[in-house]
């Protein structure tokens, strides 16, 4: 479970990017976070994976207050989260296979074979044929699928995506949202921030709206 307890975030001194947000996301929820540009969507997501610390309040992720975690514990918490970005954040000098396998390599788990795990998930997403290519040789939609593979390879219970379809055309966007829906059906908590009107209107799960840092359920 993910829980926000009257969380505020102030950048610098002036602006409340988030203003006393209370939010509970249960296991296998599929939550859409919507709102205009600058409403605080990215801020909300970044707080979950500990990229920034709240100015007030507390964020609980599986019972742990994220803002109080040591760097080491935060690293271990992030292994339970899969994070997807608008700009994919792939490593340009590594092959698709290496990009997908990256988290397993980093975790340095003696029992896990990064290449085997990457092969399994890439075949599931029909990306195995691209394994030796570099990210720039793929289309935007394919690149985003690679980054989703990377997010899912460690079997996280939460999937967080910030404008995952911001750079994609409608067809690719629909495909990406189908992937998220699937992940949610398999019991993962999925939280997606998006502008995409079509996806919002088609969404059957929960939708929350941010306006100038305030949450409107």
């Amino acid at each position: 479970m993910i829980q926000f307890d009257s969380v505020s975030k102030v950048y610098g001194t002036r602006l409340f990017a988030l203003n006393s947000v209370n939010l509970k996301v249960s296991r296998s929820d599929f939550l859409l976070v919507t709102g205009g540009s600058g409403a605080g969507k990215s801020t909300l997501l970044r707080l979950i994976y500990g990229d920034i610390k709240p100015t007030h309040g507390s964020i609980l992720v599986s019972g742990q207050a994220v803002e109080e975690l040591s760097a080491r514990k935060l690293a271990y918490l992030r292994r339970q989260l899969g994070i997807v970005f608008q700009d994919f954040k792939l490593l340009w000098n590594r092959t698709v296979l290496d990009n997908v396998a990256l988290p397993i390599v980093i975790w340095d788990n003696k029992e896990a074979d990064p290449n085997y795990m990457a092969e399994k998930i890439m075949k599931e997403f029909d990306l195995w044929k691209y394994k030796d290519l570099y990210p720039y040789q793929l289309s935007g939609g394919e690149q985003q699928k690679v980054s989703i593979c990377r997010a899912l390879i460690g079997d996280p219970w939460v999937l967080i995506a910030d404008e995952p379809t911001g750079n994609l055309d409608p067809l690719a966007s629909t495909e990406i949202f189908d992937i998220f829906k699937n992940a949610s059906k398999r019991g993962r908590t999925v939280i997606v921030a998006t502008h995409n009107e079509r996806s919002i209107s088609m969404h059957s799960g929960r939708v929350v709206r941010l306006e100038k840092g305030k949450l409107i359920d």
Binding site: A75, K89, L91, P103
Partner: protein, 277 residues
């Protein structure tokens, strides 16, 4: 082992930086060795000379110098007491001024008691000796020693400060060059953090290759130092006869410093608090 191989591969991948680091470490270590050996040898020269201090005690004519010598021997920290008979004093004077044909009557000369002491104990022992009633005069010439001490300690200070500065500057240089590389890799590093990499995982390659480069560079520096001291010994021969290169422990400490220097790059290169941007 796998990490070690990776760090070797890293060193070859960034061979220009590696070469620079090795060179900086080698030069720093060579300078540190030279200054260190200067300090070390000055110290031992000073110690050696500090046992050469002699207090001259003149006694009254009526007293028996042997008895007084026995009394002085009992004073704490006195190393050695010698009675110089008037005949010997006369001989000494003759030896000192051979071309002057001086004839000295032995009875005119006082008997002298020579007391060898450590430099640190001079003042206390002087006080004790002066308490003996038959003692007429005490002379001790330490001015040469004071100036030697002043000279050696100022050389020591300069050597210490300069080597500290050089060490610090090399550390800065290595840190900044490392930081440059880290900044270039920043996107990659932040992706690795999002994927759950610990701080140590990210720094490990830098620390490991730093230690390897410190090992190589430090080795080169120390080899050069050995070569230099061998060369010096052959050149100046007898003069540096007592010149010591350094004990194995000292060399090991310097070697440790070299590896520390190599690994020091990542202390400043990874700054904290880059979350809010």
């Amino acid at each position: 082992m796998k990490n070690f191989r990776e760090s070797l591969a890293d060193i070859f991948r960034h061979h220009l930086t590696s070469l620079l680091f090795c060179g900086v470490i080698a030069v720093t270590i060579l300078i540190l060795c030279i200054f260190g050996s200067v300090i070390y040898n000055l110290d031992s020269i000073e110690k050696k000379w500090s046992y050469e201090v002699r207090i001259m005690v003149f006694t009254s004519d009526t007293s028996d110098p042997k008895i007084i010598a026995e009394q002085i021997k009992k004073i704490k920290n006195v190393i050695n007491v010698t009675n110089i008979e008037p005949i010997a004093v006369a001989e000494l004077i003759k030896k000192r001024f051979p071309d002057q044909n001086i004839t000295i009557s032995e009875t005119v000369l006082p008997s002298i008691i020579e007391v060898r002491v450590g430099i640190k104990d001079i003042d206390g022992i002087k006080k004790e000796i002066s308490k003996i009633p038959e003692v007429e005069e005490i002379t001790v010439n330490t001015s040469w020693f004071d100036s030697l001490k002043k000279l050696t300690s100022s050389i020591e200070y300069v050597a210490l400060i300069v080597s500290g500065l050089i060490f610090f500057m090399s550390m800065l240089l290595i840190s900044y060059v490392t930081k440059l590389g880290v900044v270039l890799r920043k996107p990659e590093i932040s992706i690795m953090r999002f994927c759950g990499a610990t701080e140590w995982y990210i720094r490990k390659p830098y620390v490991l290759s730093g230690i390897v480069l410190g090992f190589i560079g430090g080795g080169i520096g120390i080899l050069f130092y050995f070569g230099l001291s061998y060369f010096m010994r052959n050149m100046i021969g007898n003069f540096v006869d007592t010149w010591k290169t350094g004990t194995p422990i000292q060399i090991l400490i310097i070697y440790g410093l070299a590896m520390f220097l190599g690994a020091s790059g990542n202390f400043m290169a990874f700054s904290r608090g880059e979350e809010d941007e």
